[in-house]
């Protein structure tokens, strides 16, 4: 995925209402009326959010009779989670190892200065 597209995805995900809409769409396609139901928000306001999600490629929209149906597109979301997940995983794994190392160093060194004989 192009990086400007990634920025659009993150911009779209930054809003709690839009995240709630995506979570709803994970359960199946929905119309604007169905989506605005749980929110204290007008249908035009919801439509604006849907446009942002559509621009980011996170949803696609089709027609069912007179209603427009929104559909969750999983791919951009997957790319977005891939992007940060490997970085997060790298640091979480490192930090867990550092926790262990710190515990070990504190147990083995009764006196804080004892370390110097090993490394200086």
């Amino acid at each position: 995925m192009a990086l400007d597209q990634l920025s659009l995805v993150f911009g779209a995900l930054a809003d709690p209402t839009r995240r709630a809409i995506l979570a709803r769409l994970a359960g199946g396609d929905a119309t604007v009326a169905e989506l605005s139901g749980p929110f204290a928000m007008s249908q035009p306001a919801i439509s604006k959010h849907l446009k942002v999600l559509e621009n980011a490629g996170l949803i696609s929209r089709s027609r069912r009779a007179t209603a427009r149906l929104s559909h969750l597109e999983a791919r951009p979301m997957r790319d977005a989670t891939d992007w940060l997940a490997s970085y997060r995983q790298f640091w979480e794994a490192s930090h867990e190892r550092l926790d262990e190392l710190l515990a070990e160093l504190q147990n083995s060194n009764g006196e804080p200065d004892a370390r110097d004989r090993d490394h200086r």
């Binding site: 990086l3 920025s7 940060l84 640091w91 710190l102 504190q106």
Partner: protein, 157 residues
């Protein structure tokens, strides 16, 4: 269980990684700066880390290499700016796989009640640099992406 907090605002060129450790600041600083200790924690367990240079002083250079199970090597290097100290260490950071895309890192450590919070602010040259380096330089031990998507969606609910 302390959590690694990562903040990467969309459209900016910075990343902040923050984490608290149950240890005094001097000891945490030593783990970050002692070339014998760095390989014991930096990087996931499936990588081995080799510190080739670590000259902890104003203008000193560092270079380390991560080696994965297949023997692929990923080298990183940089230079310290100012005297490195627990309060503030400023250094450049470059993934040698993307030469010239150098980031500036500021590491601060604050101690409170025997615990130490480490905050690393990385400033890249552009949003594209940040996103590209994060996407390409850390591709290790990634879990199945569908599984992560499912987790994200659960989180969003």
């Amino acid at each position: 269980m302390p959590e690694t907090e990562i903040t990467a605002e969309p459209g900016t060129s910075q990343v902040v990684v923050s984490r608290e450790f149950d240890a005094p600041r001097d000891l945490v600083f030593r783990c970050f700066t002692d070339p014998d200790l760095i390989p014991r924690w930096l990087g996931p367990r499936e990588l081995t880390t080799r510190v080739e240079e670590y000259d902890l002083k104003d203008g000193g250079r560092y270079r380390y290499v991560h080696v994965d199970a297949e023997g692929n090597e990923y080298a990183f290097r940089g230079v310290f700016h100012g005297d490195p100290a627990p309060e503030l260490t400023v250094q450049t950071f470059e993934f040698e796989g993307m030469p010239g895309h150098v980031a500036l890192e500021a590491v601060t450590m604050t101690e409170s009640g025997g615990r130490t919070r480490v905050r690393t602010l990385s400033s890249f040259q552009s949003v594209e640099d940040r996103d590209g380096i994060i996407a390409s330089g850390m591709e290790v031990g990634v879990r199945d992406s569908d599984e992560r998507l499912a987790e994200l969606l659960t989180e969003l609910r």
